[in-house]
Symmetry: C2
């Protein structure tokens, strides 16, 4: 066995592949049961909550969603006035989607709702563990965002 020759990189990849379904279990399920939004809708709202404003194409790239899907998801969010759309003044082809005040408020509330179960489950951890976990998750998040940006600049082959 060459198991002890595993690189940090191997470990990271294995862990990410394990973490994904665990998060899916806890988060996607909470979205389904606790909100009237689909996971896709909420991920778009979350991305806009983070970035403020993005073009349709950028949204698709960030979340790896096919363009037509982005169109329909954004449409639903617009109907609820959680986001709004406006044209780029320089290039009228580009449509920017921006989160509204209502959208920000809604996302915050939903985040709270969704967090409830996790919150409860995380209570078995003591303060120290929780602090470690917040740092670990922060680090992972930052790296993933960094990687994502990277891939947006290089690999811009259309979805």
């Amino acid at each position: 066995m060459t198991d002890n020759s595993k690189t940090s990189l191997d470990i990271v990849i294995e862990n990410l592949i394990s973490i994904h379904p665990l998060l899916a279990k806890n988060i996607t399920r909470a979205i389904r049961t606790k909100t009237h939004h689909t996971p896709g809708e909420l991920f778009v709202l979350g991305t806009l909550n983070h970035h403020g404003k993005l073009s349709m194409t950028e949204i698709g790239n960030h979340l790896s969603l096919p363009k037509p899907h982005v169109t329909s998801l954004v449409e639903k969010l617009i109907c609820e006035e959680l986001v709004e759309r406006f044209h780029d003044t320089n290039d009228r082809r580009i449509i920017y989607i921006q989160i509204t005040e209502k959208g920000i408020k809604e996302f915050r509330e939903i985040k709270n709702e969704i967090g409830q179960d996790l919150r409860q489950k995380l209570q078995i951890l003591d303060a120290e563990e929780l602090k470690d976990l917040s740092q670990a998750s922060q680090y992972l998040k930052d790296i993933l965002i960094k990687i994502l940006q990277q891939s947006l600049n290089s690999n811009n082959t259309n979805i």
Copy 2:
């Protein structure tokens, strides 16, 4: 603003909610393009790779999949001889699913395939960052598994 009063717990939850779609982008998409398995199939295989052997119900609980879905996913995996099924000798209602040698090998290969893109993207990190990341991801994974077990023992209301 009471923003600076955010607890570690709040931060963890926000981060997890952000991390999920980022992983979904990188992993689910890779599964779709690089393998002939569906994400669901692969998550079942991955869980069995981790646990070795689980009952149908346990698989569903681990991944939050409805029972009928588990049945169909396992069936496909059995067709490819990646897992096999056998009855519990004490309680003949229970059917255990166990990963085969072929399944272990297949999962290892797929993990490699899927990791390729991530691997490439992670190369912008230096050795130190990579080590930190491997620790952070390991910590997060362990905690999530711990939380998951917890929820399996208490909340055993059927999916």
